[in-house]
Symmetry: C2
Subunit: 430 residues, 2 copies
C-alpha cells in the first residue's frame, strides 16, 4: 500500500530540494560561526566557488534554472524548533551548552544572504558576500547542491533497474572498504563527506552503513542533521577560513605573521580538550610549528589536511618531542584525500606512536568512480572559499602548491612572510 | 511518512507467507494440469521432495514448525477472482481461452490436498498423495517454500546494512550477466526460475531487471503470478511428469515403450504451434527420437533438459534432417543448468542453425554463490517428483545418470525397454 498523503504531499514540492535544513552542514562551521560571531561579527567577506577540476564543465552539465531554484530554496530555510533544541541541549565533545544563548538567538533568526551567479567559460561563478558569520554558512550547502545537481544530471538518463544496480555497486564498494577497515584495531574514523557527497540520501546511507559495519570504530559524522537524526556524535573543530580571514585583515607583515596564532588564541579561550586541534598548514606546516608559542604544544592534537600525510605526521611528532610533549598522548587527525587503503596504511604506520583518527570525506560519500561509462559520476575537486575580507584578498598556501589560492603577488608576499620555500606538488584528486 | 494501516495490517500476519497465490507457480504446471484433468483425472499419484544436494541438511537448517506453517498457509489458498479472470481472459502463446471452462471451474474450487512431513537423517521427507491434477500443483510451491526458508535461515543473523549489501551484490551480479547477454543478436531468453528461487521478491526483481535490461530479448516468465502482475508473457509447455506417470501406468513392456508417445499424442490433440515442444530425454533422447512417429518431427521444437546441451541440440538437428525437416525452422529450447556464459556459448554455436531460446532457471533467480561466508546461500539441487502412480513406482532416466530416479530394478527394466546404453555422467549443480 502506498501512503496517499505522502504521495500527494511530495507532488506539492515545486522542486526536490537538496538541502532541507540549515544544520545539513558541517559541525565545525557552526563552531567557527560562533567564534566569528563573537570575535569578528562585522567583518565583510566574500566567498567564491572554485572548481579545481576544470575539465568538468559544470555550467554545461547543470541547468542554471535548477541551480537557482536550489539556492533560492536554501535561502528560505531557517532553524526549526527541533534543530534549535538539539543544538542548545545536546552534548558535543562531552560538553553541554556548547552554543551560547546569544549565538543561538542570532542563529534562530538567520536566513542566508543573497548569492551572485554567473556563467563563464563553461563554469559557474557563484559568489556570496556580506557579514562573515552569515556568508560562511553558504559554503557547505552551496557545494552540496552543486555536487548533487551534477549527480542528478548524470542519473537522469538511466533506467530504474540500471539505477538500482548503480547504487548496488556503490553500496558494495563502500561495504568492501568497511570490511577492510573493520580489522584495524583501535581505528577511529568519522564521516567528513558532506561537502562533496554524491547526494544527501547517499551520505545518510554511508553513515548508517559505517555505524553498522564499524561499530565503535565509527566515531561520528561532521553532518549535524545526520548526527541529530541518527543519534550520532557531531564531529569537527576548525578550518582554514579562520586563519585566511584573520591574515587578510592584518595591516602589516608583522601582524600577518601573528595572524594564524591569533586565531588559535581566540579558539583557546573558547574551547578545550578534543576541540583544541591545530590546523597548521594554511601557510606551511613547518614554519607554523617552528614559530608556534609554547601553549600551542599543549593542545590536544593536530589535523593534517594537505601535503604528504605521513610526512605531516612525522613533522608533528618531531615538533611535540622538541617541545617536551609525549606524542603518544597527542591526537593526529588525518583528513585529506583519504580512502580505505590510505587509512589502513596510515593507521599501521602511526598506531601506537600517537593517538590517531581519520576524517574520511569525498571517497566515503562520493566514490562512484568506475561505475558509469566515461566515469561521469567520479567525484571532483570543488571548493568554496573565503576570497576576500574587508576588501583584501585572502591567501592560502597549504602544504601542497596545487591547493594554494590567492593573487600571485600576495602568494609571494605570504611565502616570504611565512618563510615557505620549495614545496612538493601533489595531485589533488578530491 | 509510514502508511500506518499497512504497518498494522502487516502485523496481523501470523507468518510472512512465501507463497501467496495458487498461480505463483510455473505456467506449464497449469497446462499439464488441464491435460491431466482431461485425460487422467483419477490417477492416484504420490509426489516426493528429493534433495539431491545431500550435504545441505535441510531439516537442521529449517525449523519444522515454520515449514508446516508455510505449507498450511498454501493449503488455505484458492484462486482469486482476478487470477481466474486473467487465466480465462488472457492470451497465452497467442491463443485465447487456453484454459477450458470445465478446468477453470474445477481450479476455482481447488484447495491443495494434505501433505505428509517427517524428518529423516537431517532431511525432510515431504510427500503429497492424491489425485494427480491436485497433487501435481504442490511441486512448485513446495520447492519455493523450502528454498526460501533456507534463504531466510541464513539471512536471519545478518544486520540491516549487511543485508542491503548482500542484495546489492546479487543485483550487481545479475546485472553484469544481463549486460553480457544484451549483446547477443536474436537472443530469446525466459525466466524459468520459480522453483529454486532465492525468494519470491528476488525473482520478481530479477524478472523486472531482465525486462529493462534485455528488452525484447526477454520473452517472458514461467511464473504466472509475476506474468500477471508485470504484464509479461507466461512461458512453458510440458515436463517429465507426464511421460513418467504415463509410463508407470503401462501394463506391459510394449505399452511402456509407447507411453512417451502417448503423452505427446494427447498433447498434440490439445495444443499447436509453439506449445508443441518435445521433451525427449525422460528415457534417453537418442532412442526416443529414433523410434518417434513421423508426426512428431512436424512439431515446432524440442527442449533440451539434461545431458550435454550441445550434444542434445546436434542430435535434434540430425534427427530433423533425417526426417526431411529443415532445422532452421525448428525451435530448440535449452533449459538445463544455464548461466550467462553457457547461454552465450550455446547461442553462438546454434544461432542460425535453428531457432533457439533459453529457459534460464536457478542461476537467474538464485545465484547467491560466493556472497556469504561458507557459501551458505548457494543454490542447491532440490526437486519434487512424481514417485508413484496408481501404486507403481515411476522412473526417470534422463540423459544424465546423475538425474535418474526410481527403484534400481525398474531403472534396469526401463533401460532395457528403451534401449538406453552407456550415458555420460554430468555433475548436477542446480
Amino acid at each position: 500500500m502506498v501512503d496517499i498523503a505522502t504521495r500527494v504531499y511530495n507532488h506539492k514540492w515545486k522542486i526536490d530540494p537538496i538541502v532541507r535544513s540549515l544544520i545539513d552542514t558541517d559541525f565545525y562551521k557552526l563552531l567557527m560561526c560562533q567564534s566569528v560571531f563573537r570575535n569578528k561579527r562585522d567583518t565583510h567577506v566574500s566567498f567564491s566557488l572554485i572548481n579545481r577540476s576544470t575539465e568538468i564543465p559544470l555550467a554545461e552539465l547543470i541547468d542554471e534554472g535548477e541551480l537557482r531554484e536550489q539556492l533560492d530554496h536554501i535561502r528560505t530555510l531557517s532553524l526549526t524548533r527541533g534543530e534549535s533544541t538539539w543544538l542548545r541541549g545536546n552534548t558535543f565533545y562531552g560538553k553541554r551548552q556548547m552554543f551560547r544563548s546569544d549565538f543561538m538567538e542570532w542563529f534562530e533568526n538567520l536566513r542566508l544572504p543573497p548569492y551572485y551567479l554567473e556563467k563563464r567559460d563553461g563554469q559557474y561563478e557563484l559568489t556570496f558576500e556580506g557579514r562573515w558569520p552569515e556568508v560562511m554558512l553558504w559554503e557547505i550547502p552551496a557545494l552540496a547542491v552543486l555536487m548533487e545537481l551534477r549527480s542528478r544530471a548524470v542519473l537522469e538518463t538511466m533506467g530504474k533497474f540500471e539505477l538500482q544496480v548503480l547504487y548496488a555497486r556503490a553500496m558494495t564498494k563502500l561495504w568492501e572498504k568497511i570490511e577492510r577497515l573493520r580489522d584495524l584495531d583501535r581505528l577511529r574514523v568519522a564521516d567528513f563527506g558532506t561537502r562533496r557527497r554524491h547526494s544527501f540520501l547517499w551520505q545518510d546511507w554511508c553513515v548508517q552503513a559505517m555505524f553498522e559495519g564499524l561499530g565503535e570504530k565509527f566515531v561520528g559524522t561532521s553532518n549535524c542533521l545526520i548526527a541529530k537524526n541518527r543519534d550520532l556524535e557531531a564531529i569537527g573543530t576548525n578550518a582554514h577560513e579562520l586563519p585566511m580571514v584573520y591574515a587578510a585583515l592584518a595591516e602589516t607583515d608583522a601582524e600577518l605573521r601573528k595572524a594564524p596564532y591569533r586565531v588559535l588564541a581566540d579558539w583557546h579561550e573558547e574551547h578545550e580538550g578534543n576541540l583544541r586541534i591545530i590546523l597548521p598548514d594554511t601557510y606551511g606546516t613547518e614554519g607554523f610549528l617552528e614559530n608556534a608559542p609554547d601553549w600551542l604544544a599543549g593542545w590536544t592534537g593536530i589535523r593534517i589536511d594537505s601535503g604528504d600525510p605521513a610526512t605531516g605526521a612525522e613533522t608533528a611528532i618531531r615538533w611535540w618531542k622538541s617541545r617536551g610533549e609525549d606524542p603518544r598522548k597527542k591526537l593526529i587527525i588525518f583528513s585529506d584525500g583519504l580512502d580505505a587503503d590510505k587509512i589502513s596504511d596510515l593507521h599501521r604506520q602511526f598506531d601506537g606512536r600517537a593517538k590517531i583518527s581519520f576524517g574520511w570525506g569525498t571517497l566515503l560519500t562520493n566514490d562512484f568512480r568506475g561505475l558509469v561509462s566515461d566515469d561521469r559520476l567520479a567525484p571532483f575537486s570543488l571548493v568554496c572559499k573565503a576570497v576576500s575580507a574587508n576588501g583584501r584578498p585572502t591567501v592560502k598556501l597549504s602544504d601542497n602548491p596545487n591547493k594554494a589560492m590567492g593573487p600571485a603577488g600576495e602568494i609571494a608576499r605570504y611565502k616570504r612572510v611565512f618563510g615557505v620555500g620549495e614545496q612538493e606538488a601533489l595531485e589533488v584528486v578530491v
